[in-house]
């Protein structure tokens, strides 16, 4: 027996918005309807006072080009609602784990070696996250097409959330607000963090959003998150980080999610029917410029793990494998 509510159905006149229907030829889902070709495309009225050589939205803001800017769709299908839903779920899980850790006294009884690593290595990364959030806001403003820029604005917001997640850990640890000051000093002056700060500032000064995206999403992320958060969490499980390590896990999980759209966009650029070869050359040049710098960032930071049983080579191996598997996506599709 079927449960059958009779519905008063009136046949619709059309399946959906014209521009989505033309493109996909079936009723659109909410991601598609809210993302495809939403951006204004033509007949802009005025040139920006701050950049008269470009239009308000202009494919010329980057050397990377696509024949069809909507050939990229976010594999996670994040539109505003599903994005916030996914993030609040992850944040709630983290908050509940942390609450448990707090009740168990995990922050107070934390192994002092890990206290040092959290404040001195991870604390300054609040500022790295802040810088990355600015870079992705710039990608959101200047990239072309709603599907790319939408993924970027969520990434920008995420990076700021990451900075706050790290802030929370520092505040919960012995030392509280003093930890933030200590971390800031290390970011500005500590030798170990200078290659990273230089990297972030150099990317911030770029005008080409495509190169910014490559330098952060393809290169830096693939080195920083696996080598620091994933490897750090693994070390923590072996050496007394305990429940406090859930924040490191949270950041690594975030990275895995971020990688999903990064690899799809990378594939899209590299395999574009009209610009694929050009894009691969542009990407290759960027990778050659940024990859050694990312490795230098990690070589400077990874010695922080010595005290808790880590090695520079161990962290680098984890990053290297991640990076190689990501850029393998540039190979022409089979």
């Amino acid at each position: 027996m079927a449960y059958e509510i009779r519905q008063n159905v009136i046949d619709p006149v059309r399946v959906g918005y014209q521009w989505v229907a033309t493109r996909i030829g079936r009723p659109a889902n909410r991601y598609e309807e809210g993302s495809i070709e939403v951006q204004q495309q033509e007949n802009f009225h005025y040139r920006p006072l701050w950049d008269p050589d470009h239009d308000i939205f202009d494919p010329g803001y980057s050397a990377l080009q696509l024949t069809d800017w909507y050939s990229f769709l976010d594999p996670r299908q994040y539109y505003y609602y599903t994005y916030n839903q996914a993030r609040t779920r992850a944040a709630e899980a983290l908050a509940s784990a942390q609450q448990y850790a707090e009740q168990a006294g995990a922050f107070e009884t934390l192994d002092p070696r890990w206290h040092t690593v959290l404040v001195e290595l991870f604390g300054p990364l609040r500022h790295h996250e802040y810088g990355a959030h600015l870079i992705m806001a710039q990608v959101s403003r200047f990239s072309y097409g709603t599907t790319i820029e939408q993924a970027a604005i969520y990434s920008s917001f995420d990076h700021l959330g990451n900075a706050q997640a790290l802030t929370k850990v520092l505040l919960k640890l012995e030392g509280g607000q003093a930890n933030l000051a200590e971390a800031r000093r290390a970011w500005l002056e500590g030798e170990a963090h200078q290659p990273l700060r230089r990297y972030v500032e150099n990317v911030l000064a770029l005008r080409d959003w495509g190169e910014q995206w490559t330098a952060v999403n393809v290169v830096l992320n693939a080195w920083v998150y696996p080598a620091l958060y994933r490897y750090g969490e693994m070390l923590g499980r072996q050496s007394g980080l305990g429940m406090v390590g859930t924040t490191l896990r949270y950041l690594d999980d975030w990275y895995r999610d971020e990688r999903a759209w990064t690899e799809r966009l990378l594939e899209t650029f590299a395999n574009d029917p009209g610009h694929g070869a050009h894009n691969r050359a542009v990407l290759q040049e960027s990778l050659e410029r940024w990859r050694p710098q990312a490795e230098a960032v990690l070589r400077a930071l990874l010695p922080h793990f010595h005290e808790v049983g880590g090695t520079v080579e161990g962290g680098l191996a984890s990053a290297q494998a991640e990076y190689e598997s990501l850029i393998a996506r540039m190979a022409p599709a089979q």
Binding site: Q7, N8, I10, V13, R14, V15, G16, Y17, Q18, W19, E33, G34, S35, E37, Q39, Q40, Q41, E42, N43, F44, H45, Y46, R47, L49, W50, I56, F57, Y79, Y80, Y81, N84, Q85, R87, T88, A91, H127, Y130, Q138, S140, E149, I153, S156, F157, L160, G161, Q164, A165, L171, K172, G175, G176, Q177, L180, R184, W187, R197, R198, E201, L204, A205
Partner: protein, 502 residues
């Protein structure tokens, strides 16, 4: 725990403030190149007051919860053929104007605030801008989703994106927002956060939501209520941004004053379309344009806000007297223009019903019967004889606001105004003292305007004839009089179908 010892305010500060730093590997101006060229002086970004204290985590939580409710209602609406419950299919023309004219502005605001979030060196205002960028994307998407079920049954929605870029009356809102995003960051904040979101929001955005509520449009109304808490954050940002600039340096005062003068008039001219919508397109009216203008602008802004701003040396907008003088006839002039050119508009117009004409007489006792009722009565007679009135030919558009040049001298409902300015040997026409002042302040900007009528004559819009231009618009019977429309035919047929069930 350390956090529990800290107050809410302290925790918030730790979460947002102090994350930014002064770069040393790059010159600061290489990283923040855009906030100085307008001449605004900021001495201490830390003076910024955060009017709302929200973390990323709480933002995710609130917004996900609001959207969960919104989409649940939307799904119910779709399942129950909710579009049949609106007051009348004529109402949808207000909604068409909204989706074609306003939704793309939400999207443009999103991109504009991404730029503010990136390039303002202060962490607190940058975060406020980032949250607003997110909100504006939300509004663009939820509006597309809220109105999508109507699009499946009615005309005037299906190609809104293309229309926004191409169709003549939509260059009014489009050029407004293009003007703002092509400006520097502080002017953008004054234009959008202060002018659009604070000064005139109850005349620009809110009337569509009130109209939805009065006319049984459940999805748009639900969106409107759901956006309320976002909008109040945006309004607060607008006021704080202006006060912050004024407090930082006295030299900022004359610059901000000129922006307020410019953006008041620019936004006020966009409200002309809203005025026509409120008085003519809503089968169930919630108030007249004049009443709204008096309450939301004269009472709340002129008598409430501007006396406060006087303290900073800010005067009411330069051309405010002209706006006040127009309140008795603005909506009628603009609707008559829309009525006369509907053969090329992506919505329908119609002659108001007799009881609606009486309502207009009552709301506009000094002007309606004398100047405007006769126009509509003649139009009705002509239509009855098979000659629906259309204006033959294309109108001259104002170089600044881009509305057809139908406006009159302040306080004189029928003496037309056409103002000429010469720049680099060319003559440019504007509709009013306000638009002329804006033009002459930045002629090099306004001569760039993509004026739809000029472009049609230049052959850039599919051809020189009306059918060619309509084809370029992608018209599918979206234009013309409501009486001849598919919408009306369907509305009647679907209601008959439902009534037969009884």
């Amino acid at each position: 725990m350390a956090t529990s010892k800290m107050g809410l305010k302290e925790t918030y500060r730790a979460m947002i403030r102090g994350l930014e730093w002064t770069p040393t590997y790059q010159p600061p101006e290489a990283i923040y190149p855009y906030h100085t060229f307008e001449g605004i002086k900021i001495h201490n970004w830390d003076d910024w007051e955060d009017p709302f204290r929200i973390t990323v985590e709480s933002y995710w939580k609130y917004q996900a919860e609001k959207d969960r409710r919104f989409y649940a209602i939307l799904d119910g609406f779709i399942q129950s053929q909710g579009h049949l419950n609106i007051s009348d299919a004529r109402y949808l023309n207000a909604l068409k104007l909204f989706l074609q004219g306003v939704t793309p502005l939400e999207y443009m605001a999103h991109r504009g605030f991404s730029q503010i979030a990136r390039f303002l060196p202060g962490a607190a205002p940058a975060f406020a801008a980032l949250a607003q960028s997110m909100d504006e994307l939300r509004h663009a998407q939820t509006q597309l989703h809220a109105i999508s079920p109507y699009n499946r049954y009615y005309s005037g929605f299906h190609s809104m994106r293309r229309w926004h870029d191409r169709v003549w009356y939509l260059s009014v809102p489009k050029s407004f927002f293009d003007d703002a995003v092509s400006s520097g960051p502080f002017e953008f904040l004054t234009a959008i956060s202060f002018g659009f979101e604070y000064l005139l929001t109850n005349l620009l955005f809110v009337p569509f939501m009130s109209g939805a509520s009065f006319n049984g449009d459940l999805t748009t109304m639900t969106f409107g209520f759901s956006a309320q808490s976002d909008e109040s954050r945006h309004m607060t940002l607008g006021l704080e941004a202006v006060k912050f600039m004024l407090e930082q340096d006295e030299d900022n005062v004359p610059i901000v004053q000129q922006w307020i003068d410019k953006w008041f008039w620019r936004a006020y001219r966009v409200t002309a379309l809203v005025a026509a919508m409120m008085d003519y397109m809503l089968p169930r009216r919630f108030m007249s344009w004049k009443e709204a203008f008096e309450l939301y602008f004269e009472e709340q802004m002129m008598n409430g806000l501007f006396p406060d701003l006087k303290y900073y040396g800010i005067n009411p907008p330069r051309h405010v007297a002209q706006a006040i003088a127009e309140k008795d006839y603005l909506s009628h002039q603009v609707y008559w223009v829309l009525y006369s050119f509907t053969y090329a508009a992506m919505f329908h117009t119609w002659v108001p019903e007799p009881q609606e004409l009486d309502w207009l007489s009552q709301k506009y006792p000094g002007t309606f019967d004398r100047y405007f009722r006769p126009l509509f009565e003649r139009a009705r007679e002509a239509q009855a004889q098979g000659h629906r009135h259309y204006f033959a030919g294309l109108p001259q558009l104002c170089q600044v606001c881009q509305i057809p040049m139908a406006f009159t001298y302040p306080g004189e409902p029928i003496r037309h105004q056409q103002r000429a300015s010469v720049y680099q040997g060319e003559t440019y026409w504007t509709c009013s003292e306000g638009c002329q002042w804006i033009f002459e302040r930045e002629p090099e900007k306004y001569i760039q305007a993509w004026l739809p009528v000029h472009e049609i004559f230049k052959g850039n819009c599919g051809g020189a004839s009306v059918p060619e231009v309509l084809a370029w618009y992608g018209d599918q019977g979206d234009s013309g009089d409501y009486l001849d429309s598919q919408d009306r035919k369907h509305w009647i047929a679907w209601h008959e179908q439902v009534n037969q069930l009884v």
